[in-house]
Symmetry: C2
Subunit: 223 residues, 2 copies
DNA sequence: TCAATAAATGAACAGTGTTTAGTTATGAGC
DNA sequence: GCTCATAACTAAACACTGTTCATTTATTGA
């Protein structure tokens, strides 16, 4: 039995070696420029060997994706020691963007690349990948329970918030940053987060003035 | 001269034919599955002929990208006949998402694919592609001028809004919709847009109550 | 030591984007 | 009409890609 265990260990070590090597190469040159032969050469094996440990190239990407989701989840939980759920949510957003910008290749793999999200969230149903989303929903729910949010469908609210941070992250990763002057990207992230949060403060401050002056009622009309 | 003109016309017609055929094939089977040979075969030419009209495959994608930006811009201006800049902005957002979901292959090409945004907004500086963004900035500025927005850096505000709609569009395009129940995606879009807009209404309504009761001042603290 | 199993590979297959040498069509000048 | 330069086009190849499979090499239990 011990020898069988060793075999299995070696097998999983080999898988780890391949995954590690692949990711390092990806980080270095980008997915589209890395081939199975590159990976094999780097670890001094023949290309065919790779296929003894992974069904195909997509299987490697898929596995790395799962690792990415685990990494993201770790980032998320580690920075969630705030009592106020709104603060927690804000921090979660910043952590999310931070993860994306510090691990752009992972983020690409997980959320931008074709077939990334769907394949992970579908096939691997209720497994990793949904964890971070559940965390988000939990925070959203608490915000609603504490009256910090309007009470709407939790999925919709979570989706809206996710969309926002995903939009920021993916645009920056795709190089939209070059449109801005030399001052760091961080100001833009912080600024845009603040803008979104202050947005309605301002709007309502105006509206409040009106309310007080001529008792205008909020109609809730779709703008 | 007339004959030279005809030649040039034929040349541009051939380019158009290639682009059209390529895009139709892309729409049908997705980029990653379409080859130069596919395109050539469809129009009954040899693969080598394609290279007489386009430098390489990326050149085709790049040109289609430019066409996509023109299409987007048309969509944007056509639906901007509102007087209220905030309404205009809201409509622009909805139009943007509509364009993305109705032309997912174009949108992918323009904003999601690797090298999409940067290459288009950089190389083609001050040309197409920036038009829509300038339109957005113009609207943002007007909103600020009319006091509907807090006065912040226009680029930051525009980036925040763009991020939001891009996030929605790209997540849905990547198949996040499957996470939601059977009811249409439209409800989610509308809902999440409304959520973001109502967000602070609600928050401030609460805050207002507090303000009135114990004169608490808005600190502007970073949450 | 020997058969059986596992691990690794060389060589090939079908496909890709791209280049180049060579062929075919076109239009101008005689 | 006939030449001839120019333009349009292509067959064939090149260097790649992901992937498979027959074959070889290494490891193990009897």
């Amino acid at each position: 039995m011990s020898i069988k265990e060793r075999k299995e260990l070696e097998k999983s070590e080999m898988r780890g070696l391949i995954l590690n090597t692949a990711m390092n190469l990806f980080l270095d040159k980008g997915f589209e420029n890395i081939t199975i032969r590159n990976i094999a050469e780097k670890i001094d094996y023949s290309p065919a060997t790779i296929y003894l440990y992974f069904k195909n190239k997509d299987d490697i990407l898929f596995t790395l994706r799962k690792i990415g989701f685990e990494k993201l989840y770790e980032h998320q939980v580690s920075s969630l020691k705030f009592d106020d759920p709104l603060k927690r949510l804000h921090r979660q957003g910043k952590t999310y963007i931070k993860f994306a910008l510090e691990n752009p290749e992972y983020y690409d793999l997980m959320f931008i690349m074709r077939g990334a999200v769907a394949r992970t969230l579908d096939i691997n149903n209720c497994d990793v990948g949904l964890d971070s989303y559940e965390l988000l929903k939990k925070n959203v729910k608490e915000c609603m329970d504490e009256g910090l949010f309007p009470r709407t469908d939790i999925d919709v609210a979570a989706f809206a918030l996710w969309s926002y941070v995903h939009g920021i992250a993916s645009l920056i990763i795709r190089g939209v940053g070059i449109m801005f002057p030399e001052e760091g990207i961080n100001d833009i992230i912080e600024g845009s987060l603040n803008f979104m949060l202050k947005f309605d403060d301002h709007k309502n401050r105006n509206k409040k003035k009106l309310d007080l002056s001529n008792k205008q009622k909020t109609t809730g009309e779709n703008i």
